[in-house]
């Protein structure tokens, strides 16, 4: 189907975009890569009066790597991350996860800001942000503010983004040398949304003990979150097969997965177990 009739604006600055957004009184939608929004419009599941295209706003497509971490402009696309040579060392987990994001045609268009705003619980990127302590920078009529990824999502397809706020960048804290990581997900078809997925990283001390583990779940949840009991199970310990199994059990016990057409809650719980165990082995 074709899109419903709507107006289109191509602002040249963030100020202009915020002004348009404020004036629209909730009747406008921001367009970045359009990989979720355009099908939604084509199916007429949403009928906004105005589309505000962020394509002409300068600076939103930059990847900056500094001592503080990795800063991704909101319009950075999956393919930019996938093909970035510096990111392979600056954030290997992020790069590895990109292979799981949909299909390459979608990765050529989809953006990091758009994915966060859409907030699909089965998408890789929101889960990565939650797992990696990302800081989300947003700007609105009252100026800019920073939101921790863990406090950004309010449920499936919903966030704490205020009306007339625009995501401008996402910053992932610096990646220490020697950090261990794993990413595993399971979907029914290659490129589908995950039924369950795990992103994790941890550091180690001189004795090989796990320090500061971060384990996040996607798919088998209503919005991505950390698996605290699973983290607790390995924190301060030297990993072995017994501990990996204990951690996987703790993780699968603490998720609260949905049952839907794609899979039952019980099955997703089993998948969390398998993915978590494999991600730890991968790390």
């Amino acid at each position: 189907m074709k899109l419903p009739p709507l107006d289109y604006a191509l602002p040249r600055s963030l100020d202009e975009a915020i002004a348009l957004l404020s004036e629209s009184e909730g009747q406008a939608k921001l367009l970045a890569g359009g990989q979720s929004l355009m099908p939604t419009l084509a199916f007429r599941l949403a009928t906004p009066a105005l589309l505000i295209d962020l394509a002409a706003i300068p600076g939103l497509d930059r990847i900056e790597i500094t001592a503080a971490g990795v800063r991704l402009g909101a319009r950075v696309r999956w393919v930019d991350i996938e093909q970035s040579e510096p990111l392979r060392t600056a954030h290997p987990l992020l790069v590895a996860a990109m292979a799981h994001v949909a299909h390459y045609q979608i990765r050529n268009r989809g953006t990091v800001g758009g994915s966060l705003a859409h907030a699909d619980p089965a998408a890789e990127w929101p889960g990565l942000c939650v797992t990696c302590d990302a800081i989300i920078e947003v700007i609105g009529p009252a100026g800019s503010r920073l939101i921790e990824a863990g406090a950004f999502f309010s449920g499936p397809l919903s966030t704490h983004l205020a009306e007339a706020e625009i995501i401008t960048s996402i910053t992932l804290p610096a990646w220490p040398r020697g950090r261990r990581w794993g990413f595993q997900e399971f979907s029914r078809r290659r490129g589908d949304f995950a039924l369950a997925g795990i992103a994790l990283h941890y550091d180690t001390d001189a004795a090989g003990r796990v320090l500061d583990p971060h384990i996040g779940v996607i798919g088998a949840c209503h919005s991505p979150h950390r698996l605290r009991a699973a983290e607790q199970a390995i924190s301060g310990q030297v990993l072995d097969d017994v501990l990996i199994e204990a951690c996987a059990q703790a993780g699968s016990a603490e998720v609260d997965p949905p049952t839907d057409l794609h899979g039952s809650a019980r099955y997703r719980r089993a998948l969390v177990h398998a993915m978590l165990s494999r991600a730890l082995q991968q790390a």
Binding site: H103, R188, R189, G191, L261, H262, S264, R266, Y267
Partner: protein, 762 residues
Amino acid sequence: MDAKVIKEEQIGRSVPRMEGAAKVTGRAEYIHNIRLPGVLHGKMFRSRIAHGRIVSIDTSAARAVAGVHSVVTGEDIQRLIAEPYYGPAFHDQPVLALHKVRYVGEPVAVVLATDPHVAEYAAGLITAQYEELPAVFNEVEAATSPIHVHDELKPAITFPDLKHLKGKRGTNIALDYKLRRGDVEAQFASAAHVFEHEFHTQHIMHTPFEPFVALAEPMDDSITIHTSTQMPAYVRLEIARLLGWPENKVKVRTAWLGGGFGAKVYVKIEPMVVALALLARRPVKMSLTMEEQFYVIGKHATTFRIKSAVTADGRISARKCEVFWNGGAYADIGPRVSQKSGFTSTGPYRIEHAQIDSAEIYTNLPPAGAFRGFGIPQLVWAYESHTDIIARALNIDPLEFRRRNILREGDEHPTGTAMRDAEFEEVLVRISARMGWDQPFDRGTGTKRRGRGIAIGVKASIAPTTSFALVNVSADGSAVLFCNTIDMGQGSNTSMAQLVAQVLGTSSERVRVTQADTDVTPFDMGTLGSRSMFHMGHAVRLAAEHAREQLEALCAETGIEYQDEHSIAQAFRKKFGMQAGNIFGVGHYTSRYQPADHDTGMSKEITPFWMIGGTGIELEVDTETGHVTILRMVNVVDAGRAVNPRVVDTQISGAALMQMGATLSEEMVFNEGELTNPSLAFYKIPGMRDMPVAIENEALEAETRSGPFGAKGVGESGTFGVSPAIANAIDDAIGVRLYSLPLTPEAIYRGICAARGEPLVD
């Protein structure tokens, strides 16, 4: 035929697809692209309940929408057509629901507007009041349920063997095919081993990427229907019957089809567009969405109870088959599926005592009909899973067990028809040779377990049917073939052109094939059931031979030696003094057939030819997720002689991969009759990245002596063995046997958990 005039053999040549360039450059014509002045677009309002009497339909809000031309209901249709019921087997389907609705999604009203979006918006404003009736969805329950989908059975005149059902009341059984051979019960009582299992298949949809589209254009005293159909001649016949018009006032034409797979056989939305166009006195176009296709036609869900007696030395002495076909609310061609495929339910085995009960059953679900394989994949799924279970239980190699029981040339099929040109054993031999069946096999380690399996199936061609063809040779020696075989992507135009060229002694590239247009292309029963290469192939061959006889006479008359298109051109010029004139060659073919006896189901000549297909699978199961990776898929078929080997190869892999989707992921999921996943996001068709790691196809070097140039049909054979070969390989890998399709990762994982005594509790 004089061999010396043929410069190059056209049969067996992989002539490039004639429409290939037009399709890949986006210039091929499709019905959807036709623009007619004054056209109205129709959008449907559909039933939201599974079974009920219509109390009232409120169309007032829809009529009030600016841009709406009119809103049409079943009663409006009845003002035009007094008995507005259609269908090839039963006249049971109303153009728009009348008095009752019988499934969720049944068309109840149509809004006509110049803008399709206006029509769709207005259709959303229609409401209906129903007196709800209890509904029945499961095919086994429906067989004996007191809930009846139709009050009375109304068989069409087309099929004599349905006559006995006329006027029958109080039943959902729309056809009850029976086969009785020998005494199965005595065998079960005395056999060394008896095995009994029940298998299930799910509802699936064809999902052609060109959804149903039709455009009706009323003329002064006739009507033209532009439609994406596999059966233009039947559309003409059925529309003429509904309107009470002679056939020559109804013109049906097609363009390229964006896939059919059996969805577009007989009539689908054509009666609706015709009725709407005649009521509105304007052209009307209906173009269904991908989502709406799920409510038009699908593939039968089935329950198959199968029981076999096996001797101490591993021979199947008796087999009893009970097959329940879930036909949905309207019969469509379902009764033909349950009979024409039903009689092969015992499989490609030599079985002296056989009993089959194969019943088409009405339920309150969307209709089911023809679907690539015409019911055979559902049957092979059951009997080849069953066969494998028996072999494993008796500790006989599954290949050896099959070879011990397989039908050989001259053997009698349980129906009483002798096997001719049916290379069952050779198909098994070639699969096993390619797979290295007797070689050691890597069984994997840890959470990745490997297994392999084989399966083989048989199909009879639908019979009796008729094809006509006309070859028009122009004065320059080029030719146009007029035939109603529809090229819906299978490459039939290229193959048919090769037959003409072979006979005329010209090159295939000098033959063009017209699109079907019933005003000019002669009758053909339809493009379905892999019948075209055999039936139309014969008609085309005969038409070309008829043309050649006349061309040879023309050459003789003009003193020119018949050689090729150049000599033909010379003869025309000499005869008419310039490049002028035509030669018309006509041909027709009707297959030989002897109807099955009503009481025993037996016949000495039940099919003009047998189709055979087998598949070997090597796969890996992830025991922690249930995910299956197909490492290798080997498809071998007996297609007789391959007219165009490249086309045959793509038919085999296309069929096998389509069936792979039906096996692993596709399923229409119903909740109290309501389809919960009518969208390609939720209905899972495999993508390019889900293909087997390796796939190899083989068409045996074989000859069908009764076929044109030794050929027979191949459009479906690749589907037959896929599902059970995968299930057999899963069992081989992890010792888990599954009895219901689809074999989703979750179903497999649940099987793994149950097998180790820890079933998943929800």
